[in-house]
Amino acid sequence: MRNYRSIFGNVDWVIILLYLLLVFIGWINIYAAVYNEEHHSIFDISQRYGKQLLWIGLALILAFIILLFDGQFFTSFAFPIYAGMLLLLIAVLLFGTEIKGARSWFKIGSFAIQPSEFAKFATGLALAKYLSTLNIKMEKVKTKLLASVIIGLPAALILLQNDTGSTLVYVAFIFVLYREGLSGNVLLVGIFTAILFVLSLILRIQSFNFWNVELSGDKLLIIILAMFAAISIYITKKIKKLWLIISAIFILSAGLVFSVDYIFENVLSPHQSKRINVLLGIESDPHGAGYNVNQSLIAIGSGGSTGKGFLEGTQTKFNFVPEQSTDFIFCTIGEEWGFIGTFFLIAAYLVIFLRLLFLAERQRSMFSRIYGYSVASILFFHFLINIGMTIGLAPVIGIPLPFISYGGSSLWSFTILLFIFVKLDSERLLVLR
């Protein structure tokens, strides 16, 4: 029970230092991104960099407060916090303000706060609480169903706010469920579906000619799938009833290929379909949907190996890259710090992710472990989409880069998310299970 009273006793300094480092990197790059000679002081509160410093200060206070709590508090109040967040999400739908097409903000004076950011840690807590309950087995259908509801409720509410990006983040919980026993096949099916979807998107606009027979790309894809299915059935004919499963897979795949058109034109909104098309190179639209990615790639690419230097980025300084202090902050880093900068940033994130996995695995409490996985997965998912989008490997989905992007809500929510786990981890020796 040593250091029980000490607030910083047993905390993981690696994570905290990396957190401080990233927050600092974020701050100076926001300064570079919106740099303006008339307001050259980095502490100028009228500019975004001045404000970000304020948010950082408040975030540190928030982190300190979280460390003051007893870890047991989060375990006990996981469901009430979750329920509270759901109410907030409903409230924002009713009374919120619309900013950039998403009704996901509460406006208090000149400040705007985004409840959907805070729903992430609440969902993580609730999921951890539910899955760590005695006699819960992942294999059970009921468990899967209830876990899906816990994840799905906030996701659905956020989707109703018209904030597709934040909704997608909830996909990250797949990693948590997988670690807790969800069949790996789910991951495989997901990957297979994604590949099939992309393939049929690319192929459906092409046509092939074999011995004077015109074949559209998606029909060719189905023929190839049928051939694969036939061969697999032939090879595995000794295994009973496997042919049924293979046939079912084939029929579902064919159905997916045929429904791509429908999904593309009716389920996705036009700008979403367009972004996907641009990403896959089906459409080229350097001034419209492709503009952001194109300019972002130019910014990052023109940084070269060592970068143009701090405040020397022409792409970002002259506003070619949109949203450069928020969603496209990575461009500023890429342009001004070059490959050296981006390499170290990605390395820093990887260290955080792997460190979080390591910390989660050493927990004796199942609750802490599951929550730890939630933190790692959510941060990873943001990293995956945000950086992927700036380098043209992911569709343009506006979600922030953790700890770096400008914005109070996101910084505070990531801080809360992370520091609850830091607190839980510091008390790992006190809990038995």
Binding site: F318, G334, L354
Partner: protein
């Protein structure tokens, strides 16, 4: 199932994505140079500095063409805020539909780059617009220059400029969309000198195209070089006078300084005011001009192919004398059984035949030139004779394109052996088939410039310089060598003297056909009339002349369509031109002649 192994799979996925991103970044940032260039293009804008086009002067330093500032209204669609469209349309005097169309066109081109919204706003409207422009963010004015022609004259010679077309942009890398280029006349011929060189200013701009300063402190900027000034050989006073004389007539006047080949004036009537084809007015005026049945855009002086008529007898006489088939005192009776003639005494020598323009005389001269009885067959003999003749005629500059500094010039036509062989069949034609050439009719085609050149050649006693318009080029010594090269017609001076004597007789001796060409005693004019037969109507009136006889300063050809005899109309016009050029004025005794010419209108009669 041991779930704790799954931590490795999750960790592996995290690591894998990180590595993929690092590889991608290495590729984009280190291996690939494409983006570096793109980023330069993004922030660097080249601002074109348009040079002023070169001025054009006449031979006496009178200004013929200069530049006037005009203003293009430019728009950057991205910067356009909500504006009062109605007010805007009123200010710029455009329709609201036109506004929408132009604006969406600009938007389609680029939302960030400027495009031309309205072209060539006059300086007067600009003053008014400038005060109110601040109300319309995104719109600004770019200065350009327009050509101006202070003398309202010499439209055919000066030509006009217009925007480059796509094929020019594709084939000549200097030109960019929206550039101006000489389309005809001297503007076309001397395009390279006149246009100057564009300058480029490189500036850094942000995404809204706002200037942020010069690129690398301007070390890569180039200054625009103003177009070169050129001095032409035109005497604008004479040119204007020629245009005045030919008003209400169809035809042309070409005057050349024989000693140099410099074109003093080149009139084609009807013509047009060069200011009609400037800037925005082109769109309105060009169709009007090109649909006009009198064809004012057609430069008759260099494009119209006419039968030369009797002026060609001078050529036949010189060739006959040089070939030795006639002598100075050869005499042929005026036998009208083959070709018609007017009544006159028998020409007893070559000079008299020129003076009286006896058709049967030249029928005989030409028969001797063609049929020299070198071979037995009359057909072969004619073939041989014609081939020698047509070679000789081409030495006069007929039947080939004079390499002058002017676009669109025609070559005219001198028939030769292959032509007739094709027309009639080999061995199926002889002198009797082609004799109308003898008096400048038949298949012969000559442009007025070639007629003036013939006059200059006789004045020079046997040589000519290719007629040209360039006198001096600013900052360049001399003019292209092709204009200082003597072209000899290979006729001995003594034979040319005989013809000159005849041309003197035309004007001054009894029985001469152009006594109206006299000016006064101190200026001796030599000339030759022609009446080109025209199957479609009244004959064309032709006259060539040079003066003064002993030291020719000017050689001239006048061609008036559907006017009748050469002595009646073309000759007095030529004499007035010569007088104007040599004495700068018209003597009182010649005023009635001038009055008559000015009052005559052949167009009214010619029109149905």
């Amino acid at each position: 199932m041991n779930l704790s192994n799954r931590k490795f799979i999750v960790g592996l996925i995290f690591l894998l994505i990180g590595i993929i991103y690092i590889i991608r970044l290495f590729n984009v940032q280190v291996l690939n140079d494409k983006y570096k260039l793109d980023s330069d293009n993004n922030v660097m804008r080249e601002i074109i500095q348009y040079p002023a086009r070169g001025l054009i002067y006449d031979r006496n330093g009178e200004l013929l063409v200069y530049n006037e500032a005009a203003y293009d209204l430019m728009v950057v669609p991205k910067l356009v805020k909500e504006i009062d469209t109605l007010d805007f349309c009123k200010l710029f005097e455009i329709q609201i539909d036109e506004f929408r169309e132009k604006f969406s066109k600009a938007k389609n081109y680029s939302r960030y780059k400027p495009s031309t919204f309205l072209k060539e706003i006059s300086s007067i409207s600009y003053a008014n617009i400038q005060e109110q422009l601040f109300k319309y963010p995104g719109f600004y004015v770019q200065t350009r220059t327009l050509r101006k022609y202070p003398r309202n004259s010499a439209a055919h010679i000066l030509g006009y400029i217009g925007e480059v077309n796509q094929s020019t942009i594709d084939n000549r890398p200097y030109y960019k969309s929206g550039d101006y280029i000489g389309k005809s006349g001297l503007e076309y011929s001397y395009e390279k000198l006149l246009r100057g060189t564009r300058g480029v200013k490189r500036v850094l701009v942000d995404v809204h195209n706002r200037e942020k300063g010069s690129y690398q402190n301007g070390v890569m900027d180039t200054m625009a070089v103003t177009g070169t000034v050129i001095y032409t050989t035109i005497d604008i006073v004479l040119q204007e006078y020629g245009e005045l004389l030919l008003q209400n007539k169809k035809g042309s006047i070409v005057a050349i300084e024989p000693k140099t080949g410099e074109i003093l004036s080149l009139v084609s009537a009807p013509d047009y005011d060069p200011n009609m084809l400037v800037g925005r007015a082109v769109k309105k005026n060009y169709p009007i001009l090109s649909k006009d049945t009198l064809n004012p855009l057609f430069n008759r002086a260099i494009m119209a192919k006419y039968p030369p008529g009797s002026i060609f007898k001078t050529v036949q006489a010189m060739i006959g004398l040089q070939a030795g088939v006639i002598s100075e005192n050869s005499s042929f009776a005026c036998n009208k059984s083959f070709v018609g003639c007017h009544n006159h005494p028998t020409a007893t020598n070559v000079s008299a035949s020129v003076k009286m323009s006896c058709n049967p005389y030249y029928y005989n001269v030409f028969r001797r030139i063609i049929q020299q009885k070198r071979v037995k067959s009359i057909f072969k003999d004619s073939e041989l004779g014609l081939s020698i003749w047509s070679k000789q005629v081409k030495k006069f500059g007929f039947g080939r394109r004079l390499e002058t500094d002017f676009p669109g010039i025609k070559s005219g036509f001198v028939p030769d052996v292959p032509f007739y062989n094709k027309w009639y069949g080999e061995g199926r034609w002889a002198f009797s088939t082609i004799y109308s050439l003898s008096i400048g009719q038949g298949e012969l085609g000559v442009i007025p410039l070639q007629m003036a050149n013939l006059s200059a050649t006789i004045a020079n006693n046997g040589y000519y310089y290719v007629p040209h318009f360039i006198k001096t080029i600013d900052k360049i010594d001399g003019i292209p060598a092709i204009y200082t090269k003597k072209h000899s017609i290979e006729i001995d001076k003594k034979y040319i003297d005989i013809v000159t004597q005849g041309m003197y007789g035309v004007v001054y001796e009894p029985g001469g056909t152009a006594r109206r060409a006299r000016i006064h005693d101190s200026i001796i004019v030599c000339g030759k009339t022609g009446t080109a037969q025209n199957p479609h109507g009244e004959d064309h009136s032709v006259f060539i002349a040079f003066a003064p006889k002993d030291n020719p300063q000017i050689a001239i050809a006048v061609y008036v369509e559907n006017a009748g005899g050469g002595g009646r109309w073309a000759a007095p016009i030529a004499s007035l031109m010569i007088e104007k050029y040599l004495t700068d004025s018209i003597a009182i005794r010649n005023k009635p002649k001038e009055q008559l010419i000015l009052e005559t209108n052949f167009l009214a009669a010619g029109k149905p």
